[in-house]
Amino acid sequence: MNDTIRKLYTRPSALIAWGLVLIFVVVGVLFKAGLVSLNTATIAMDLMVNIGLALSLAIIMSYAGYVSFGHAVFYGLGGFLTGYIVYNAVQTAYTANPQNFNLTFGRALGWWLEGAVLGALASAALAGTVGAAVLRLRGAFFAIATIGLDYAVLYLVKLYHNPLSGSADIPVTQLGAIEGFFYKTYVLVTVFFIVTVIVAYLARVSKFGYGLSAIREDEDAAEVLGVDTTRYKVYAFILSAVLTSLWGSITVWRQNSFGVDIMFSLRESVHMIAMNVIGGLGSFLGPTLGGMVYYALYRATLTKLANSQFIVVGIIVILFISLLPEGLVGLVKLVRPKLRKYID
């Protein structure tokens, strides 16, 4: 165990992640000091969310080799339950005392936590039941089943009608009016980014990570070698789902709204998968790099191409899969084979 913890501050891959954390912290501090623009700080925050989501999915997809198209479900569940709870709480508090209604960050954060915990529990429950059943399938069959899961939950949530918004979508615009909301949210995102980095890194380099690698490479051989493959897969799926759900909760908080068709959309799953593919499967470093590069591509094409940008992003993903199936990490291994042993 101590061996594993030590890797967190000695291994190069972990140090790269800590370098990123440092950059994000510095950006936050400079923003607070008025030396960095809102725009730059927003980009930093977007990067954390993207890398965070890539790492969340990586635990099951990249480490264990199970490509899940169903992660939008967990992202959406976290978002939906957080939006619902925060919105209801805000409305109730307002109705009770409209004159003296004063929404502080701390009070709202308490509700957010409630929603985030609820979303995480719901995601864990879903991953531990339906996920466990679906994890009996392999390869394409697993992937297809997770697409089914995504649609099933999307349409189930759509049945819910929020009386005020007239659909399942939930506006939590009151949050944006909170004094210092942006900066405090930046801190929240940074804290959660650090949590994700630590969890995802330890899941990779611990004994658990060895087991997942074995499962990815040859599940039958892993089982015969003593790896409790069923349990490991389910644990990986639950961990991955919970992290994804928490990022969903953060997204709703940041954006002050929950949109059912956006957050539960298969497109969200595809983003997470694309980041892992671009970065390269099997490592912690892959999704970390993939999350950054994917977001950079997204930014670069955003203004110029507006809605057609996903065509370009899609083509780039296809190019990666066909020309560089091992992703950016594979490129590193190709150019500098000696670096292989530093890539966790």
């Binding site: 892993a222 089982e223 015969v224 070698l225 003593g226 790896v227 409790d228 292989r340």
Partner: protein, 263 residues
């Protein structure tokens, strides 16, 4: 050897095992015992049910009938990883390396999840793995990804991974298949070294007749899922039924026996 074995403990007992695949009976009421410290050869024509027997012993398949008893404990129907942790390791006829992982990592996984599962640190697993890689002659490939190994190295890796589990019973499924004569000789040396230095009980499935006849203390012959014969290599090689069903040429069979004299 057979005389020594009289007093030895029974490591594994296969008791009346039947395994069917749909209409096909791959194993038909097969029974045999493996004594601690011995090497049991398991031979028979293609499709006789040899690999299926390994799959039943390791829990990959559950038999329709019969039991598998390991050191007095009924392990029938337990999950493969549970059986592995009790000390039964195997190699695969068709090698199953963890391709993207290094040779060392492959062996480490054996050590981490094998019989010492849960009582061993990563560093200990690493040194056990390294020791085993030295033992099988793969140490200089330790940092290479397993996918770059050639077939005989992959066979050694299978063996290394299984040995890293520190098993009491090792099941070898055609570790000599696909090797050229020099490689076969090297592998045989290695198997002898395993028996000499590790004292592991072994069952070996093998088509390379002179090798089994040489190494095994006793041999069980399977034919269409049934146990056709059991005995010392000599007894088996002289058995007319075995000659007819599997060994073919009686002259050849005798040659194996003669070669035995020289070993």
């Amino acid at each position: 050897m057979a005389a020594q074995l009289k007093g030895a403990r029974v490591a594994l007992e296969v008791d009346n095992v039947t395994k069917r695949f749909g209409g096909l009976t791959a194993l038909d009421h097969v029974s045999f015992k493996v004594y601690e410290g011995e090497i049991l050869g398991l031979i028979g024509p293609n499709g006789a049910g040899k690999t299926t027997m390994f799959n039943v012993i390791t829990g990959v398949y559950k038999p329709e009938e019969g039991r598998v008893i390991y050191y007095g404990e009924d392990i029938t129907g337990l999950k493969p990883h549970v059986i592995a942790r009790k000390g039964i390791a195997r190699t695969h006829q068709v090698v199953k390396p963890f391709n993207e992982l290094t040779v060392l990592e492959n062996a480490m996984i054996g050590a981490l999840f094998g019989t010492r599962h849960g009582q061993i640190t990563e560093e200990e697993a690493r040194s056990i793995a390294m020791e085993i890689l030295e033992f099988v002659g793969l140490a200089e490939k330790a940092e290479e990804p397993a996918k770059v190994l050639n077939i005989q190295e992959k066979k050694r890796l299978e063996l290394a991974r299984a040995l890293a589990e520190e098993p009491r019973l090792l099941l070898l499924d055609e570790v000599l298949a696909g090797l050229n004569p020099t490689e076969v000789a090297h592998m045989l040396d290695l198997l002898r070294k395993i028996r000499r230095e590790k004292g592991v009980t072994m069952i070996m499935i093998e088509h390379v007749m002179h090798a089994v006849m040489n190494l095994a203390d006793r041999i069980v012959v399977l034919h269409f899922g049934r146990k056709l014969a059991e005995g010392t290599p000599e007894e088996v090689a002289r058995n007319p039924e075995v000659i007819a069903a599997y060994l073919g040429d009686p002259e050849l069979a005798l040659k194996f026996v003669r070669r035995l004299g020289g070993v």
